[in-house]
Symmetry: C3
Subunit: 161 residues, 3 copies
């Protein structure tokens, strides 16, 4: 895959690669190490605003939480793009996705929320988008976000589109 | 170690390698990347049923939560087996275990629950079963599971028993 | 960087490398695998005592939680030192930091707590201390700790100071 192919596929899905939110401390959107790209926990930010705030389901219904997971994952792809300097020829596959779901104590469908992340990765990247996944509930998240999504991606050290 | 040795050791412990639960979305039980096997978060499923549901200690006493961590970890070994195509000659060592414990707010012995995971890995795999570990409490988990266990294992890309 | 340089830098910051707390089960402070060092979740222990216990902000104000994140991270560097046998010539960079913050349900500034970890890594290690990061809230942690910090560091397999 090269970047034009990625952008074309996103376009087919009615999506575009977002700008990467600038970290406000001494961390980075993504870091390459050991042949892997580690992406910082992504929030469902769109144009600088959270698309969903609070726990599911009391403040955020399931379907909207899935959309938030999808959005956070799209932001994660933008962080991967930055770490790879746009050279998607280096991209090999997604290896791990961590999904933290802001949850009411009785909510037990974090796996369904996480499908918003998993399905987006498969829709955009195809087979190399398949991944190992951990989905868990938490009682709160930064800025009150409905969801936080972390990615680990396998990538070659040097390019070749 | 080869697979017959693994199965023999499990048998000595009164255990067998379970079937791998099929993911219900675009993720996999385990993915190989960067010389590591990333295993999806495992629940304490046995024959398709959770062995322990709800927070510790109000719904699940400590000892039963430890057993659930043990069971989830056994399921994780089955996922490793699948990712390695049964070629345990490729297995090098366990590197990381993440244990999420469904916890009442005042419960602070997640490390004791996690010992169910750590001890199983050491009992089955010996020294290469030792690992780095993070054990944390969460207010809820998928399907209400008492525990969720994630593994990262080091493995050679190509085989050789 | 070599170990004398590390110790000198810590000294400039008024810090010293702590002793590594011995795990009480079949896990290790840190494990090397796949060119990475995985460090176990670190608590804010100082001379065997937790520096901060309970959720932020009801039991632990923000600033003290940041200090706890800083302390847990310093303990993590001691675990890295142990895994590298003190050979910091093998150290390449920090790649991932996970920060679990013991949080009241309405607390949404886990990212500010996590800055205690991020800033320490940058202060001690400079540019190679920059990392990808996930900061989440949880309802409880082992021993009631205010924070737990996990590290993944990139390191060469064989030395050379």
């Amino acid at each position: 895959m090269d970047k034009p192919q990625l952008l074309a596929r996103l376009d087919e899905l009615g999506l575009e690669l977002p700008a990467v939110a600038r970290p406000l401390a001494a961390y980075q959107p993504a870091i390459v190490g050991g042949g892997l790209v580690f992406v910082s926990g992504q929030l469902p930010l769109e144009d600088g605003e959270l698309t969903a705030v609070g726990p599911t389901p009391s403040a955020v219904p399931l379907e909207r939480a899935q959309g938030a997971a999808r959005r956070a994952t799209l932001n994660g792809l933008a962080a991967v793009d930055l770490a790879l300097d746009g050279d998607w020829g280096r991209f090999s596959r997604v290896v791990r996705v961590g999904v933290f779901v802001n949850s009411d104590p009785g909510f037990t469908e974090q796996h369904l929320v996480a499908n918003g992340a998993s399905d987006l990765l498969f829709d955009v990247l195809g087979e190399p988008g398949r991944h190992a996944r951990a989905a868990v509930g938490v009682n709160t998240l930064p800025l009150g976000a409905a969801v936080e999504v972390e990615l680990v991606v396998e990538a070659a050290v040097s390019g070749g589109a």
